[in-house]
């Protein structure tokens, strides 16, 4: 028992969703129900006061985490990852089952919880430290280390509302990184910040894990899960779908995710009918992948052929800041390649384009892809102003690439690496080379 850091037994969490279903027929009914309801709610907190749908965000979770384990929790959105972390962090109470914890817990479900924009960096370090459970003396003794880690330097006495988002996140993570728990619970904190910052976070996390502390880590970054974690837990629909080593868990998740994605018959995304940012400049209708005959294609692409991504949109106002881009990812959502009409040679300047309906196309660089699964994503932004479709959005489409040039019998095994090439190799006989031993 002593080597168990955390254990859950039959853990479940239920939420009530949905609107009022009951019909009030008379005013008298309405009034008596209204009068009775507050008391019902006080007598049975957390219970439904009216008919509503029950949603089990978590069900029957039996989990044992040994001391020193680094557990990666993966699963799709809504699989129950965040709810599990909330229950384990004692933020919300389980509906059924129990959690047993041996040791001091610190949880980091969000970077910069309780940061106050009016306060300076110095003040926020103290406040955030206390919120995360540090004692006053502890904050004092770690203060210099936190400042150094955050690299905010001379902005220490500036209100954080004047910080760039990068500085803000660095400072917030710096405080959290200096928590000293035996069990650390971390939600997707790596989703924010630039590459340099993410590298630093991952470094700190592996340092913590290396010290023999127990870490529970939720992430969509499969590479990070594989690198940092020893064991893994795959959640699906609030239940345990797989529990094993981190590598196996990631493999299961990827199979699982791609099975659901490839089911899409055509490589197309249609924008939902709701307002999007910068609606006065552009309205993106959607995009699709077509072949050289301009026909929409399904989930399989061949590397020797021509494909284009066709982005359709209404331009409502000419604006030089408008940018479209495409992101390519591997199956574990690792970013591989980003292209955009400002980085590449497009010659398009939206400052001089008349308002109207347009289709913007860009060819897919399939010759760079291996025989494996990839994902493509549409991005759109107003330069330096904000995103219309930011990376990690709902436009992602999954496809498989089949390389027709990999037909050499010796190249049947899939290539190593994320990318391939179509580089022409040549062989030249050297005239002066003496033949050795023949």
């Amino acid at each position: 028992m002593s080597d168990i850091a955390l254990r859950t037994v039959g853990l479940g969490k239920m939420y009530h969703i949905g609107a009022e279903r009951e019909q009030y027929n008379t005013l008298r009914d309405t009034l008596t129900k209204a009068a009775r309801r507050p008391f019902e709610r006080i007598r049975h907190p957390g219970a439904a006061t009216h008919k509503s749908e029950e949603l089990w965000a978590l069900r029957d979770i039996d989990l044992e985490v040994k001391q020193g384990d680094v557990l990666g929790i993966v699963g799709r959105n809504g699989a129950g990852k965040s709810t599990l972390l909330k229950v384990l962090s004692h933020i919300t109470e389980p509906t059924e089952g129990r959690v047993e914890i041996h040791g001091r817990v610190a949880s980091l479900l969000e970077v910069g919880t309780g940061f106050n924009p009016e306060l300076t960096g110095r003040e926020n370090i103290q406040l955030n430290g206390a919120i995360l459970g540090m004692r006053r003396a502890e904050i004092k003794s770690k203060f210099d280390a936190i400042v150094e880690f955050s690299e905010i330097g001379r902005f220490l006495d500036t209100p954080v509302k004047r910080y760039s988002s990068g500085m803000y996140v660095r400072l917030a993570f710096a405080v959290a990184a200096h928590l000293d728990p035996e069990i650390l619970i971390v939600d997707e904190v790596l989703a924010v910040g630039d590459m340099e910052f993410q590298r630093k976070c991952l470094g700190k996390m592996s340092e913590v894990a290396g010290e023999g502390r127990t870490v529970l880590f939720v992430s969509h970054n499969m590479a990070a899960v594989q690198r940092l974690c020893s064991t893994g837990l795959l959640l699906e629909g609030g239940e345990t779908a797989f529990r094993g080593t981190a590598v196996d868990t990631v493999r299961r998740y990827v199979e699982f995710a791609s099975r659901n994605l490839v089911a899409a018959p055509q490589l197309a995304w249609v924008a939902p009918d709701r307002p999007a940012p910068f609606g006065d400049v552009v309205r993106v209708h959607g995009y699709q992948i077509t072949d050289d005959q301009n026909r929409p294609v399904a989930g399989r692409l061949y590397s020797g052929r021509e494909y284009t991504a066709q982005i359709s949109f209404d331009l409502r106002r000419a604006d030089a800041a408008l940018i479209f881009g495409l992101g390519y990812y591997d199956k574990s959502s690792q970013a591989l390649l980003f292209v955009s009409d400002v980085h590449d040679v497009s010659g398009i300047n939206f400052a001089s384009v008349e308002p109207g309906t347009y289709t913007l196309s860009a060819r897919l660089p399939t010759e760079w892809f291996c025989s494996q699964g990839y994902e493509i994503e549409l991005m759109c932004a107003m330069h330096h102003m904000g995103w219309i479709l930011q990376p990690g959005n709902q436009t992602r489409l999954a496809f498989e690439v089949f390389r027709e040039d990999d037909t050499n019998p010796y190249a049947q095994d899939s290539r190593l690496g994320m990318l391939a090439s179509a580089i022409r190799w040549s062989l030249r006989a050297e005239k002066s080379s003496p033949s050795v031993g023949s």
């Binding site: 939420y15 507050p38 709610r41 006080i42 907190p45 957390g46 909330k86 229950v87 384990l88 962090s89 004692h90 933020i91 919300t92 109470e93 389980p94 509906t95 059924e96 089952g97 129990r98 959690v99 047993e100 914890i101 041996h102 040791g103 001091r104 817990v105 949880s107 479900l109 969000e110 919880t113 309780g114 106050n116 009016e118 306060l119 003040e123 103290q126 406040l127 206390a130 919120i131 995360l132 459970g133 540090m134 004692r135 006053r136 035996e182």
Partner: protein, 290 residues
């Protein structure tokens, strides 16, 4: 497994051998004062944050804290004393000092009430992301008002000096009345903050409640002018009647509000205990519904 673990006592241990169990608690949860004490540093920093932010955002900062009761006192003196003719119960005591001594605890109470009732909703980001004893939040909102009270107390001292009034020896009991005011505000704040999470309408009721409350408390008139009978009993149940009477007794040597104080203290005790139980009962759903 220990007995306390089986019962699921929420013990957040700070030692290395902590063993904690979280599960659904049934019935009325115990009030864990030990846990609250372990989180005293968080309480300190939340009060510090509220005070700091309050004074940073306001252009006049501390000046506003001095001006607000001072201007109110001036208006009261003009309207109630000069126009309507409300008198201080003592000929030697100017109405300005009399009303200011009543305004002091009332404004503390009103401010603490307004802040604490909004405190849980206003800190919803903390409730959904971090664990700590939830009582810390309304408590910090109430305690933060002590800074304002201290500043306006200095103003009162100045005002008394101007009128040449020397506090009586009873002033040593003043901290007790401050404590009672604190308990009153915390008691009502517990109810309102928890109710506000469940029913957002509470936020609309509070300004109205505070406005009515001032007239229902002896701020602008002395307790002696409350007519005897059932009306007097109703006033006695208002916790602030005893507090304000007590302030005037301790500072200005006015009549000791004996029976009022008794009723008020009893009322505070009932509200506070009820509020604590209600709050502990509801706190388990805060993170889900806030």
């Amino acid at each position: 497994m220990t007995e306390s673990a089986k019962r699921g006592a929420p013990a957040r241990a700070s030692g290395t051998e902590g063993f904690i169990v979280y599960e659904r608690k049934r019935g009325w949860a115990a009030l864990d004062l030990g846990e609250l004490w372990r989180y005293r540093d968080l309480l300190y920093f939340l009060i510090w944050r509220d005070v700091l932010v309050r004074y940073k955002q306001a252009v006049f900062g501390v000046a506003w804290v001095i001006l607000q009761p001072l201007l109110t006192m001036v208006v009261f003196t003009v309207v109630f004393n000069q126009i309507i003719g409300v008198k201080s119960p003592d000929d030697k005591l100017p109405y300005a000092v009399f009303s200011f001594a009543g305004l002091l605890p009332w404004q503390f109470f009103a401010g603490a009430l307004a802040r604490s009732s909004m405190s849980l909703v206003g800190n919803s980001n903390l409730l959904t992301k971090v664990y700590f004893p939830r009582l810390v939040i309304p408590l910090s909102a109430v305690l933060g008002g002590l800074v304002d009270l201290g500043i306006s107390f200095i103003v009162l001292i100045g005002l008394m000096a101007v009128y040449g009034i020397v506090p009586t020896w009873q002033v040593i009991f003043l901290p007790l009345f401050v404590l009672l005011a604190l308990a009153s505000a915390f008691a009502v704040g517990l109810w309102l903050s928890a109710l506000n999470v469940l029913y957002r309408d509470v936020a609309y009721v509070i300004p109205f409640l505070v406005q009515l409350g001032m007239f229902m408390s002896p701020v602008i008139y002395p307790t002696s002018s409350i007519p005897a009978g059932p009306l007097r009993l109703a006033f006695a149940l208002n916790p602030m009647t005893g507090v304000i009477g007590g302030f005037r007794w301790a500072l200005l040597g006015q009549e000791f509000p004996g029976s009022y104080l008794l009723f008020s203290t009893a009322m505070v005790a009932v509200l506070l205990l009820g509020g604590l139980f209600f709050f502990k009962r509801m706190e388990r759903v805060f993170a889900d519904v806030v």
